[in-house]
Symmetry: C2
Subunit: 159 residues, 2 copies
DNA sequence: TTAGATGCAAACGATTTGCGCGGAA
DNA sequence: TTCCGCGCAAATCGTTTGCATCTAA
């Protein structure tokens, strides 16, 4: 299930290293006000290994019931504009988000149930970003790599 | 503009090689009926280097005015299910489509204007699909790689 | 003749926007 | 005190669905 919260850190050594205080400081530096919602959103994103969607955030402990969806959309927009959060497309209707400064990850998405798994492998593409910029004239290039397939659970079910 | 039709073939040697008749035959083999709309959609996809979205198809020559949006959505669903067309996520609200059997491409997307450019370079990831499957237990793995940045036009405008 | 395609209209889910109020700086 | 962020409600946009009709096979 792409939605259900898994309150766990990735086993990736480079993730979950930023403290809440550091994250908050980065937001303040970007001109955002210190809000309960902001703190809660950062904490949820920080403690999830997989990208989180808005519906997930809306149900998260500390957020559920305390905030209007529109407010959350606006906050995430602000965070994305400031480069603090990254919006990820995973073929679902709903957008997913991760902390922008987190270690880069690639994902495998099940095309039946939508489950998202984080790949623990070196990204083979990171080095190409500069080359792509050079070839196309695009600036500030970053990338997004997803694999799609059928997850073990779903293959089992249809077998 | 991500939407406007560019009736051109890619300079990629391996694309645009399937004839309309071959495509149609593949659809027939998949159990689809030969329809004017089907032929027109295939032709538009075949002659576009970049992925096309539904709003683009709806405005395309030969299609505009002749078909209901719902019908087009249904057709593309059928085509995707049969593996004849591939749905691509490009961070826009609207899904994009390409012919599934076309040579695989990766894209650069402008995060300001949404313009999509096709990368003419060897895909560095294709070989990893099997490995990802082995590591994660996912089956029928394929991938999608996109680069994001600011296109030359948009960087010029903001400068 | 008959299952698959279509048009039309209504439903849906994700996201955005206008507006007036309340709270962080 | 002054903006920024908020809740609420309505509007938008892409997409899906139900149903009666039509048509390719």
């Amino acid at each position: 299930m792409a939605g259900h919260p898994k309150h766990q850190n990735s086993s990736c050594q480079q993730c979950g290293q930023e403290t809440p205080a550091e994250l908050l400081a980065a937001c303040r530096a970007a001109g955002l006000r210190r809000t309960q919602l902001l703190e809660n959103v950062l904490e949820v994103l920080r403690t999830h290994a997989e990208p989180v969607k808005i519906s997930g955030l809306l149900q998260a402990r500390g957020i559920r019931g305390t905030c209007d969806p529109a407010t959350l959309y606006r906050l995430l927009q602000r965070l994305e504009t400031k480069g603090l959060v990254r919006r990820i497309g995973l073929h679902e209707r709903a957008a997913h988000f991760t902390l922008h400064r987190a270690h880069h990850h690639d994902y495998v998405v099940c095309r039946e149930c939508g489950d998202v798994a984080t790949l623990k492998m070196d990204c083979p593409v990171e080095k190409l970003e500069n080359e792509v910029g050079r070839r196309t004239g695009f600036r500030e290039v970053y990338h997004e790599l997803q694999f799609y397939g059928v997850c073990p659970k779903c293959s089992a079910r249809s077998a």
